[in-house]
């Protein structure tokens, strides 16, 4: 197994993003000096850009703009995490990583939030994401033209490709050569595979379904001063090792070294606009109980697919009585989740699926529209390995209780588990609105409505039965499928004009020239791929375009 970068690009990465080298080499996971010496801007100082949210999209923007010499600060509602002190190798003890402020869910297929959807604090949801880092396929950028569903992006795959390559180097991503979509290679060699991955490979081989190891944003070998994965299976609880990529370690250190400020524990409550010029002037935020106003020449919102629409809808003014950038009632709409059923297979052997990162092996063989099927678009299949609490909730969700529940759980070491990601279609009524209820800041909470369409249901069914066949082919004694959802994107989508999107292909809002949205909210479609790599790549592209052309009229 090779443990060095294949194309020797570590030096090239270091030249453009030295984050991995700014982390100390020893057992301490953060660079205390870098944080202590971080630049602080005054509220009244008109900085070049203020970013709301320091997650996947926000941190990428922060690092890119700081590198370009911009005076930039990112405000995050949550803490500036210290993995040594703040994170634990424990499921229930990781509750504080999630966004657990009040939210209301509705619709005919409401999507439970909390631990399964979004994070808070510097690093955002990638602190507790699994770590799969696939690209979207070229077809994802024009599903309306090709398949008559979804929405075409304002740019094509080839426009994003250089940014995919850049971010894959910076995370870095490990995996086998990728045959699907636009075939490509990964900077790090694939990780060894555990019992769960072995089962997936065995079952898929028996059925002639192609699988590949990866792609995961987990270092294989040292990368800068980041250490090798220790295969402990707690990726969804935050990586205490610094092996799994999150912006906290992949982009924030380099941003700080280039003069950016990260302002944690700062909840942004509105974006302000000048009624006369129609330009954004900065953000109102609450820190230590005190309301403040940060002035900025650009406002960049990256608070996640629920909080971004919520903030825009709550930012009303004479010019925008129905919410910022909401002239055409598009804010909050076309929100998507992926259908993410998980299928377990019970084996006579001990699998002990917890002994590896949950993300190991994938198949994108069912990703594209198959004209022979009654549905459009497709799904991918990946290893997942729920820990005991989540596993017991799966059975409880099937109404298993009492002695039956305990008996199922005593079999924990015998189960393998696969998860599918089904491309649910964007629909206008799947959306965020403001509820009557308010949070502790007095800000109305988000209400998120979701209803599936027939195509969504057909995909879920097909994906579940495919996973069941794979596990049975691998020798499972019996299988069972749990229905769930993952990965919210959309809600402030990109479009070609103000009637089709909230922002343009450069993530700049049509309504307010110096306001950008650079998180998962801007995605018009979601493919059957995990979204973080695409979110970061879209943000990196937007940063590039912004730096080259700060004033759209200039």
């Amino acid at each position: 197994m090779r443990t060095i970068l294949r194309d020797g690009s570590a030096d090239a990465v270091r030249d453009r993003n030295a984050s991995a080298w700014l982390i100390p080499a020893g057992q301490r996971r953060i660079n205390e000096k870098l944080r202590a010496e971080m630049r602080h801007y005054d509220d009244g100082d008109e900085i070049d850009a203020v970013i709301v949210g320091c997650g996947a999209g926000g941190s990428t923007m922060l690092q890119r703009l700081a590198r370009a010499g911009w005076r930039v600060a990112a405000l995050d509602a949550g803490p500036f995490w210290d993995p040594d002190r703040d994170w634990v190798s424990d499921e229930a003890g990781s509750h504080h990583l999630y966004w657990t402020e009040p939210r209301v869910i509705a619709g005919t297929d409401p999507v439970p939030l909390g631990s399964n959807n979004s994070g808070r604090g510097v690093g955002g949801s990638m602190v507790h994401y699994a770590g799969f880092a696939p690209r979207f396929h070229p077809s994802d950028f024009h599903t309306a033209s090709a398949d008559g569903v979804g929405h075409d992006w304002p740019f094509a795959y080839d426009d994003l490709k250089p940014y995919y390559e850049a971010i894959e180097g910076e995370l870095p991503v490990s995996g086998e050569d990728w045959p699907w979509g636009d075939p490509h290679r990964y900077p790090h060699a694939p990780h060894p595979v555990s019992g769960n991955g072995e089962v997936f490979q065995r079952g898929a081989d028996a059925l002639g379904i192609e699988t590949r190891v990866g792609p995961v944003a987990i270092t294989n070998g040292r990368f800068g001063h980041r250490q090798h994965c220790i295969y402990r299976g707690f990726c969804l609880q935050g990586c205490k090792v610094n092996a799994k990529a999150s912006p906290l370690i992949t982009h924030v250190p380099d941003a700080l070294a280039h003069g950016a400020e990260v302002r944690p524990d700062a909840m942004v409550v509105s974006v302000e606009v000048d009624e006369r010029t129609g330009r954004a002037t900065g953000v109102r935020y609450v820190r230590d109980g005190v309301e403040r106003f940060q002035r900025a020449a650009h406002v960049i919102v990256a608070g996640y697919s629920i909080e971004t629409p919520r903030l825009l809808l709550h930012s009303t003014s004479k010019r925008f009585p129905d919410g910022l950038c909401n002239d055409f009632d598009l804010v909050g709409r076309y929100l998507m989740v992926q259908g993410a059923p998980q299928t377990g297979g019970r084996f006579a052997d001990e699998i002990r699926m917890y002994k590896a990162p949950p993300p190991e092996v994938s198949s994108e063989s069912f990703y594209e529209t198959d004209p022979a099927k009654p549905y459009r678009r497709g799904f991918s299949i990946q290893t997942v390995s729920p820990l005991p609490i989540t596993w017991s909730e799966h059975f409880a969700g099937q109404k298993v209780w009492g002695d039956d529940l305990r008996r199922q759980m005593r079999d924990f070491v015998h189960w393998a588990c696969l998860g599918a990601l089904c491309e649910f279609l964007a629909q206008p009524d799947n959306r965020v609105t403001l509820a009557g209820q308010r949070d502790r800041h007095g800000m109305p909470v988000a209400k998120f409505s979701y209803s599936q369409c027939d195509n969504d249901r057909a995909l879920m069914k097909e994906a579940s039965s495919t996973m069941e066949q794979i596990l049975l082919a691998a020798g499972a004694e019996h299988v069972t499928t749990f229905h769930r959802y993952a990965h919210l994107v959309g809600g402030a989508r990109m479009g070609t004009d103000e009637r089709s999107g909230v922002v343009d292909g450069d993530c700049r809002s049509f309504a307010v020239p110096n306001l950008l949205v650079t998180d998962g909210s801007v995605l018009p479609t979601q493919g059957a791929a995990n979204p973080a790599l695409t979110i970061m790549s879209v943000a990196a592209r937007a940063a590039d375009r912004l730096v080259r052309r700060p004033d759209p009229r200039g």
Binding site: R85, W87, V88, S89, D90, E91, A92, G93, H95, T100, E101, P102, R103, V104, I105, P110, P112, L113, G114, P192, G195, I230, Y231, R232, G233, F234, K240, R346, F347, D349, E350, I351, R352, Y354, K355, P388, I389, W391, S392, E393, H394, A396, G397, Q398, K399, V400, W401, G402, D404, R406, Q408, M409, R410, F412, V413, H478, T480, F482, H483, R484
Partner: protein
């Protein structure tokens, strides 16, 4: 790394005393000195005293205790203190934040659903839930589950079940006694695992000694965990 811990006290391989174990001799706590100190602090606190009850009223308590015991089949001591752990979460508002549109926030939803269960017990059996026989209690839970997404006292029955079972499972399977029962070693930092792969074990993992009973997925439907 944590200092060597004193020999731990009661850590039954099965939360219910000396019942036979699938993983004989396995004790996740044997590895506690290999856990990082922050994790050890969080996990070991679950074995220590819990704060006094603050959330549930005595009447709600009289329903919640037997109900949680029923859901988790905790029929005798020593029990994982699930009821106390749920009380603590609700008192401290350590909720997941989200709620269904037709349900109030978790604390009120708990209070309301427990009171509804009590009123059903009085109506059906002429005495409170706590005074019901185990069969009567199980029957009432079964009828609630049979309602599926039907409405029960103004709430979707499946959402009430989801609320109860999520809190119950989170509390029970966060406890090292439950880990012992299922053969799972718990925290793994900074140690990690060296022997992944089908049928392989670490030196501290104990092989499954075989079923205590026959396996099989219970036949109740496969409704989603919405």
């Amino acid at each position: 790394m944590a200092a060597r811990l004193p020999e731990h006290g009661v850590t039954p391989g099965h939360p219910h005393g000396d019942a036979p174990s699938r993983f004989p001799g396995f004790d996740a706590l044997d590895q506690a000195d290999a856990w990082d100190p922050v994790t050890a602090g969080v996990v070991l606190a679950r074995l220590g005293p819990l704060p006094p009850l603050r959330f549930f009223t005595p009447q709600q308590e009289s329903v919640a205790r037997p109900l949680l015991d029923l859901i988790l089949a905790q029929h005798e001591e020593p029990r994982v203190p699930v009821f106390e752990m749920v009380d603590q979460r609700l008192a401290e508002l350590t909720t997941d934040g989200w709620r269904y549109e037709d349900l109030p926030p978790d604390p009120q939803a708990w209070a309301r659903s427990l009171e509804a269960m009590e009123s059903d017990a009085l109506a059906e059996h002429g005495h409170g839930f706590a005074a019901c026989s185990p069969d009567e209690q199980a029957g009432m839970l079964e009828s609630l589950l049979d309602l599926g997404d039907g409405v029960w006292h103004g709430m979707h029955a499946d959402r009430v079940w989801s609320l109860w079972s999520r809190y119950a499972c989170t509390a029970f399977y966060s406890h090292p006694w439950a880990w012992n029962e299922i053969g799972w070693p718990g925290p793994a930092y900074p140690r990690g695992y060296k022997n992944p792969g089908v049928g392989t074990r670490e030196p501290f993992e104990v092989p499954d000694a075989g079923p205590l009973e026959s396996h099989g997925v219970p036949s109740r439907g496969t409704d989603g965990d919405r």
